[in-house]
């Protein structure tokens, strides 16, 4: 009987890190020194706990899949072949040891519906969501909101079903107190999942909000078109952190604290310069906006 030596070789390197509990696809080749085609013959995979080997075959793409255990850290596998005897040829056994570094699955966060500005000392609500890179169910897990003094300001517990339109963003609405100091405040949302079938990393995300004194005065802004004097609807009004939008009559009302502000407006197709306003009582201002010529994309002319 003829004897041929064999070898198992990787066609591509093993990734440096693989998420724990996932299936790792390896591209490899089983070769015979005499050139026999061995790709249809079975291989054996022995896992890190040295359990009895699982049999597998190299597919048409030159791949096999191995199941990485759902725990973090190095995991050793051995892919073995043979011996195999058929048609008067003995193919000698061979093996390929490899180590996979299993890492936790990632998580990521979203924070939304953050009101701004927020009156100092008042309570406000935000929505927070967490997503597992493995699309794991995160319902019931705790999420914490930490203020800029590293104190937990609020906690939430992720709800049963994901946020609409997402695949697996589990969320909660959390109420927390605004600081007493005015200005731009920062918070950190922290998520440290525990008790999941697959290991996960924790994560954090920041959000900001403008903290302002209680508004005392009503600012009424009317926006009209310069030529026709017609009111313009849906114009965004901005005064620093304060905002509003005009209605059908071109009017917007914004409650403001005392102070000096830059009044800016925005609506696509219109233009008006910013102007300073001093708020120390109820105030009404009128802004004339110029219509910008409608852009015809075919008229790609400039001077």
């Amino acid at each position: 009987m003829a004897t041929h030596s064999t070898a198992i070789e990787l066609s591509e390197p093993v990734p440096a890190e693989v998420a724990a509990g996932t299936e790792l696809v390896l591209k490899l080749k089983l070769t015979c020194a005499a050139g026999c085609d061995l790709h249809s013959l079975p291989l054996t995979i022995t896992g890190p706990d040295h359990e009895a080997g699982a049999s597998c075959h190299i597919n048409d793409n030159g791949e096999i899949a191995i199941k990485v255990l759902p725990r973090v850290g190095p995991q050793s596998f051995t892919i073995s072949f043979g011996p195999h005897e058929a048609a008067g040829i003995r193919h000698e056994p061979c093996s390929l040891p490899l180590t996979v570094n299993a890492i936790p699955h990632g998580t990521s966060l979203a924070v939304w519906d953050i009101p701004s500005p927020i009156v100092k000392g008042e309570r406000f609500a935000i929505k927070v969501g967490a997503k597992s890179a493995a699309d794991a169910e995160l319902k019931g897990l705790e999420i914490a909101i930490v203020d800029n003094s590293d104190t937990v300001a609020a906690r939430g517990r992720l709800r049963e079903t994901p946020w609409p339109g997402t695949t697996a963003l589990y969320w909660d609405e959390v109420e927390l107190p605004a600081p007493a100091e005015e200005g731009l405040s920062r918070w950190s949302v922290r998520f440290a999942p525990a008790g999941l079938a697959l290991p996960h990393d924790g994560t954090a995300a920041e959000f900001t909000a403008a903290i302002v004194p209680p508004p005392q005065h009503r600012l009424t802004v009317k926006v009209i078109e310069q030529q026709s004097k017609a009111p313009i609807e849906d114009v965004q009004i901005r005064l620093g952190a304060f905002r509003g939008a005009t209605g059908p009559s071109g009017l917007a009302e914004v409650m403001m604290p005392t102070g000096r502000y830059d009044l800016q407006i925005w609506k696509a197709g219109y233009e008006a310069p910013a102007r300073p306003v001093d708020i120390n009582a109820d105030l009404a201002v009128e802004i004339e906006a110029v219509v910008l010529p409608e852009e015809d994309p075919d008229a790609a002319w400039t001077m």
């Binding site: 953050i114 997503k131 697996a168 959000f207 400039t302 001077m303």
Partner: protein
């Protein structure tokens, strides 16, 4: 291709057998000479011509069709070849805006006084970027031919919307009017999108065929054949019709009307090395501006001309993608599902009405400019080097990032066929997750989730504060915070070819020593020297070239 080739009434050649291919040679001249050991002249004498005409026009777009008709009007025979399966070139997808004045009948009807002298004076203005770099000899020709070109269009059945527009660009007098869109929906490439240029090219095609011009579609010119070594006389072209080689003799002249170079990455980088492969070309996949005519002529020693016009940083050479989330989102062109090009274009794109609703990030996941701006400063920022050591030129992809609220404000449906999820549009539950999903052939490395998250958080803090401290976006209005989140391809897209081959005032191509290459002409976007955007110069110089070519002695 999904549509039938339009019938070539001139008669496309029969498919050639392999034996005849070998006997004729795919490209005569040097190649054949090498095979046989003969000189170029002897090799050229051995060429077996499959077709012969007085004038061969390379390209059946706006300039090419105008040229073909004009040759017939002057009693010559003409064959126009086009690599595409249908006529029209980029004119088919244009808005049909014609910039012709000089006191034509349309202007007169609307009480607009104009003269050729005024056209000339406007289009040599030093204070107009679109006029400053032109060859004034060519501008004079253009000016003098405005009325005649208008009349040519009327005589050949082109219809116009009865409205004058302008003044536009360098013109001080209204000179723009628009053709009526072609009335046969099945013969449109971008139905329902006001691509009125279809009315121009289809009418010209009909007239050309009626007058006996032959139009060979799916014929790609591969070489311009010249008579002998060091001679400047061109005598025909070699072309490929599928896998069949064809030689077409031109007894009087050859007119290059191949539509410019914008789609040829190597060629366009001659003028601007920043324009690497990630910048797509407007009007693809319908037509590709491959610099075929320029390259073929330059192989004969032809010169480029007025190259400053290409990089003048005004007009539509580089444009802001308006329809994001698809590969070709040029501002005035949307491929709808009904388009015969849709299976290649793959998505309509999401039309942006207000740039406040998105932020732009570069391939590193960082903002780099005020999103509302659409100036050449914006393009420069897009194309800036941002740290990729493997690719120093070009800036890589630009991605528009927005959230569920932004999509709602814009009334976007973020599903196919509006977006192309195969490399040009992505969605995710969180910003960090979104970063990991952005995979595209031009995105050389993954975007870090932490970086993109920080970018968005920083921008949101500007919205909170009411001012963009980084890039002065006016009144940053909307946070990007509500899931799901989206990334849409928004890389600048290239359009106008504004430089090309040097010609004299007869549109005869000139070489690098300033000599005419006998029998070779150029018109349209492949012609250098008059960088006016649009159709008028293509029509005008197509006529000028053809008139002169037809008058040559065979």
């Amino acid at each position: 291709m999904g549509t039938q080739d339009r019938k070539d009434k001139g008669g496309a050649p029969e498919a050639l057998s392999r034996r005849s291919f070998l006997s004729k040679g795919a490209a005569a001249g040097v190649g054949a000479a090498a095979l046989t050991g003969a000189t170029t002249a002897e090799a050229n004498a051995q060429i077996k011509w499959d077709h012969t005409a007085d004038v061969v026009v390379i390209g059946a777009g706006v300039a090419g069709l105008a040229a073909a008709i004009t040759v017939r009007d002057h009693g010559g025979s003409v064959i126009a070849v086009d690599e595409n399966y249908d006529i029209g070139g980029r004119g088919m997808l244009s808005g049909g805006r014609l910039h012709l004045g000089g006191g034509n009948a349309m202007q007169q009807k609307h009480g607009i006084k104009d003269t050729a002298d005024q056209v000339y004076a406007d289009w040599v203005r030093f204070d107009a970027g679109s006029a400053r770099y032109s060859d004034r000899d060519l501008v004079r020709v253009f000016a003098d031919e405005n009325v005649a070109t208008y009349n040519f269009l009327v005589e050949n059945g082109v219809e116009f919307i009865d409205r004058m527009i302008g003044p536009e660009a360098a013109s001080t007098i209204p000179r723009t009017f628009v053709t009526v869109e072609w009335h046969v929906p099945s013969e449109l490439i971008a139905p329902g999108r006001n691509r009125n240029g279809s009315g121009l090219v289809r009418r010209l095609e009909a007239s050309a065929r009626k007058k006996g011009a032959q139009i060979f579609l799916r014929h790609k010119m591969t070489k311009i054949i010249r008579e002998q070594d060091n001679s400047r006389r061109v005598i025909g072209i070699a072309a490929m019709n599928g896998s069949n080689a064809v030689n077409i003799q031109a007894k009087k002249g050859i007119i290059i009307a191949t539509g410019g170079h914008t789609g040829n990455v190597n060629f366009r980088r001659t003028f601007d090395p920043r324009l690497t492969e990630e910048y797509q070309q407007a009007c693809e996949p319908w037509v590709h501006q491959g610099a075929d005519g320029e390259l073929a002529a330059m192989e004969l020693g032809a010169s480029l001309w007025a190259t400053a016009a290409q990089t003048r940083e005004a007009g539509a050479a580089i444009t802001k993608t308006r329809h994001i989330g698809c590969r070709w989102g040029y501002s005035s062109l949307v491929y709808q599902p009904e388009s015969p090009m849709f299976r290649l274009a793959r998505a309509t794109g999401l039309t942006v009405e207000d740039w406040q609703d998105v932020i732009f990030v570069n391939q590193n996941g960082k903002r780099f400019w005020n999103e509302v701006d659409g100036s050449y400063n914006f393009f420069a920022a897009c194309m800036a080097w941002n740290g990729d050591k493997s690719k120093l030129n070009g800036g890589g992809p630009i991605w528009a990032i927005f959230d569920a609220d932004g999509a709602a404000r814009e009334k976007w449906n973020t599903k196919p066929p509006n977006v192309d999820p195969d490399g040009f549009f992505f969605s995710a539950d969180t910003i960090a997750e979104l970063a990991g999903k952005i995979k595209n052939p031009y995105q050389k490395q993954p975007i870090s989730g932490a970086v993109l998250q920080e970018t968005v958080a920083r921008y949101n803090s500007f919205v909170t504060a009411g001012a963009d401290a980084d890039f002065k976006k006016p009144t940053p209005l909307h946070k990007i915070e509500k899931p799901p989140f989206y990334a849409a391809w928004s890389t600048p897209i290239l359009h106008d070819t504004l430089t090309g081959l040097r010609t004299n005032t007869n549109a005869e191509v000139m070489d690098i020593r300033g000599e005419v290459i006998q029998g070779l002409y150029c018109a349209g976007e492949s012609q250098g020297g008059f960088a006016q955007h649009g159709l008028a110069r293509c029509l005008t110089f197509g006529r000028v070239a053809a008139r002169h070519a037809a008058s040559r002695t065979a």
